[in-house]
Amino acid sequence: MKILFPFFAVILLVLLAVVGVKGANLHFLFGVVVPYAAVFTFIIGVIYRVLKWAKSPVPFSIATTCGQQKTLPWIKQDKLENPSSTLHVIGRMALEVLLFRSLFRNLKGELKDSSRLIYGSDKWLWLAGIAFHYSFLIVLLRHIRLFAEPTPSYLHLLETFDGFLQIGIPRLFMTGVILLAAVTFLFLRRLYIPQVRYISLAADYFPLFLIIGIATTGILMRYFFKTDVVGVKELTMGLVSLSPVIPEGVGAIFYVHLLLVSTLFAYFPFSKLMHMGGVFLSPTRNLTANSREYRRINPWNYPVKVHTYEEYEEEFRDKMKMAEIPVEKE
């Protein structure tokens, strides 16, 4: 159920686009209305989520650390694992955001000889993760060719490197293949590791199927079905210049790709995909670990009504004396 529901949801989206465009001729709905609504939802949704996070107070230093904290001058501090200044935090965050450093420490527990639990390094998740994210970034940046006229100069540089193997025509872009391979690995990993499978929910599989669908339709369009790129660019340029047009002769597979991408964008703010913004806002990562240097006072501590011993004695002194309880003040 946790796998089949998102799987059929993506299949349904594919069929919806095919039937909508081929059967019902709803080109304007799938080519213009849905993409606009998706981009709008994406931008507003992400801002809303970030603002909501920003409203949550983080009164205490809860940075997770695994290195020596700043202490006596002759003990060497681990500045990246236990940052005590903003500069250290920036270094730590940069490594986290750009290189997924905490994932690099991913461990795998295994029972050896059915009694000894052994932990070993497991870099595959990190490798697939970083391959996936960077290829997706490059694929996204490459799409600028459909959204700018003239295209920015970085595009040609990117495509030269991406397609430098010069396999086939149109040139094979490595990132497309790496993206699909990495996302497939991430999916299979969820299936094959029992513990990971146990904790995986529909919300974990849905983005994976969606991205597999997006990458597959993209690759099919470029290498196999040869979509009319000029027609597609007419449509995309119409969208971004706010004067939408529906060109003739763009195949249904393009609308499938577009609907899946729109779904991904619209789904983004409501899902785990928000880790894009969340990674910057993780208090366990972005705080300085200086809990011994500075005392943090919880800002929403309300004034507590206290009854000190002096007041207590003042109030009950007579009764205490009668009961022969020793008092501090006579």
Binding site: I43, I47, V50, V58, G168, M237, V240
Partner: protein
Amino acid sequence: MYDAGKIILGIVVFVLFATFPFYNNAGKVSAKPEPKLDTPVIQQLTEKKCVESKEFMKAEHMQLLNDWRDSAIREGKRVYINSEGKEFKISLQNTCMNCHSNKKEFCDKCHNYAAVKPYCWTCHIEPKEKQL
């Protein structure tokens, strides 16, 4: 809101990235490219037809050119037989460019629009076009 300065900076960067295509194209008009077919050689043709149908050429010309290259350069076969059984000499410069002598008005129109840079001209000599 806590850390308002940093949060707003982050949101501004995000919005600038996400809406780049919109403000980048604000006020610009981009016309659909219309490749020109009015070269002297084409005008003299009685039957204005490429080696294959227009639809096939539009979608598959790059594949065809790639096959032509392999066939001519690697296998030494210089004759192409099209879907109608007609024979053509396999040569970019003497067959394709004979009719489509207007690279700037034909090839480059769509290629520039779609930001495609084919590597034909790393081996072939780019035709020197007369100023029209």
